[in-house]
Amino acid sequence: MFELIINILLVVFLGVSYFTNVLEAPVPAKVAKNPYAFQPDVWPKVIIILLEICLIINIIQIIKKNKGKESFTLKAFVATIPDFFKSKMFLGIVILTAASFVLETLGFIVTAILVLFFYGWLLGAKNLPTLAIASVLIALVLYIIFSGMLSVNLPRGVGFLRDFALLLESGVAAVKGIFG
């Protein structure tokens, strides 16, 4: 049923997009008037039409294949929704989504510590003190390797978190300086 719903949603979404979002700005007059120019809306429109055809065929096939099955009802599908929200996978998605929103404010180090700890706990780590220590160490090692040694600019965070990140970077720079 989930497969069917997604396919139907795609058909509707693409249908609406075809008429509303394929072109979101006017085509330059020079291009619009040029009979030999490949207009910028043609390519996406052709893809959407092909997609709509394929999706409709797919929907028919899904219905044919699952017709009569007990699990293939809206009621059965709705019954599975609470299970998904209780699942570890959903919590994992929440952790990562939250991380992507706090990354800039908290900086890489703190975000990494939190992700490593909570995701580790979610994945079944039993010894939480060890996990906490490992999370701090792994976060620091990752930061030192990528930011300090490979010059990848990672978010430093704000306030004292930024100061700490800068301190760490200057420490790595000093060590690099010693080794030439």
């Binding site: 072109l23 291009v31 030999y36 910028p40 092909l50 998605i93 992507s100 990494a112 780590a125």
Partner: protein
Amino acid sequence: MGTFELLQMGFGYVFEPSMFIMVVIAIVLGTVFGALPGVSATMAVALGLTFTYTMEPVPAIVFLTAIYCSSITGGSITAILFKIPGVPSSAPTTFDGYPMAQRGEAGKALGVALLASAIGGLVSALAMFLLSGPLTAAALQFGPADLFAITFMGLSILTCLDGDHILTTIISGLIGLLLACVGQDKMYAVQRLTYGSQQLLAGIEMIPVLIGLFAVTEVFKQTNSKKKRMTAEDGITGGKVDTKMPSLKELWQIKWTMVRCSVIGTLVGILPGAGATIASFLCYTMENKISKYPEKWGTGIIDGIAASEASNNAATGGAMVPLLALGIPGGNAAAVMMSALTLKGVQMGPLLLTNQPEYLSATFASMIVTNILMVIVAIGIAKVFAQILAIPYYYLGPIIVMLALIGSYANQMSIADVQIMVLAGVLGIVVKACHFNSAAIVLGLVLGSMCESNFSRAYLMSRANIGQMFSPVVNPIAFVVIIFCIIMLVTPIVMPLIKKAKKAK
């Protein structure tokens, strides 16, 4: 200057003790970067730039070439052991590499990958050295219609990515193509499909989507799994990978696969914009089509790994041809190298090799040495990476997530890219649940804008006459390639229908 003198000069550069040490360091760095998910070959070369600031131009290109070649090879390590392609061009390696690892044949899979990579790299280096001039001239003759046909050929793989779900695979490919349309169109900068988002104006970044679909989805799936160690069905026990090479008999069986894919990979690499990723997908499809046992592809056979790895490494040599001979980078990594040389005041263009042939000879020597040495280095690194499998998944999973996050963010230092990565990770779960195909989405996304812009140019040049665009008289190359593509696309759909009809009779 004669060929012998050129070779002598090139190898003289590379075997100079300090340079040789730098090449070894570059191989280690390149292999590790390539193996790290989210660090693409381009990113590896870009990261390598920091080491070349104090070098002269020729050693700099030797160093960067070594990083480039080995990073492509490094990508196969994580593709085989973790089902996470370290670099996009290793994506087809996962199709057969990971199933082999699951069966406990990780060592053999890695052996084939490394040997095929080395052969692909050596063949392309030789091709680069001998055919640099003539091949570049030929590539220059390619018009937009030919380039469109070549790119479209990459898309024709769609129908054979997942034989059991052809329709959903085509849908996935089309979704990828549509995603490539998001943002301003490449020809006229008209805003499309952004739904009012400023962040989408520049289009959907490929790297976060790729990382999300391949790496994050895998971690999400493992989060629900009861098994908390990524032991690939315990095939790779205790994180130990035997380095048992494939037998000579096995290698002999795939000799033509390696030769064909090395040659095609080199040719694809020469074409501007068509790099290692297209080469590996294209060769994987082609070999699948001509194989005597196509049904075994994707179940873990060495042919699939050899096709993917020989071709993506061969593309590295190919990409260097237009860079050195004409000053036109054949791909992103070559563009980074070009900028490094330009920074040092090197005048790129056709006169470079005429006036300073040492660039060609040094690059050739570097590629030869790198492709031989990297087999040994990569085996060592693969062993280290394999040890990672012994780490409990509650440590490894979050580390992979953090590497994915770094890879997405470092691409353009954008939080939006991290959010796109998470979204792509969730999308990957939906894709799996709906029997869609992640690889097809990525393929569409990678080739989409190239396909459209070349078609657009060809359309304009042929004065809106599609018949003329693919006319055997005006564009014979495009005509032949398009016919070939149609056959490739239609065969997997038509053949089962014919078989069914025959059975019904």
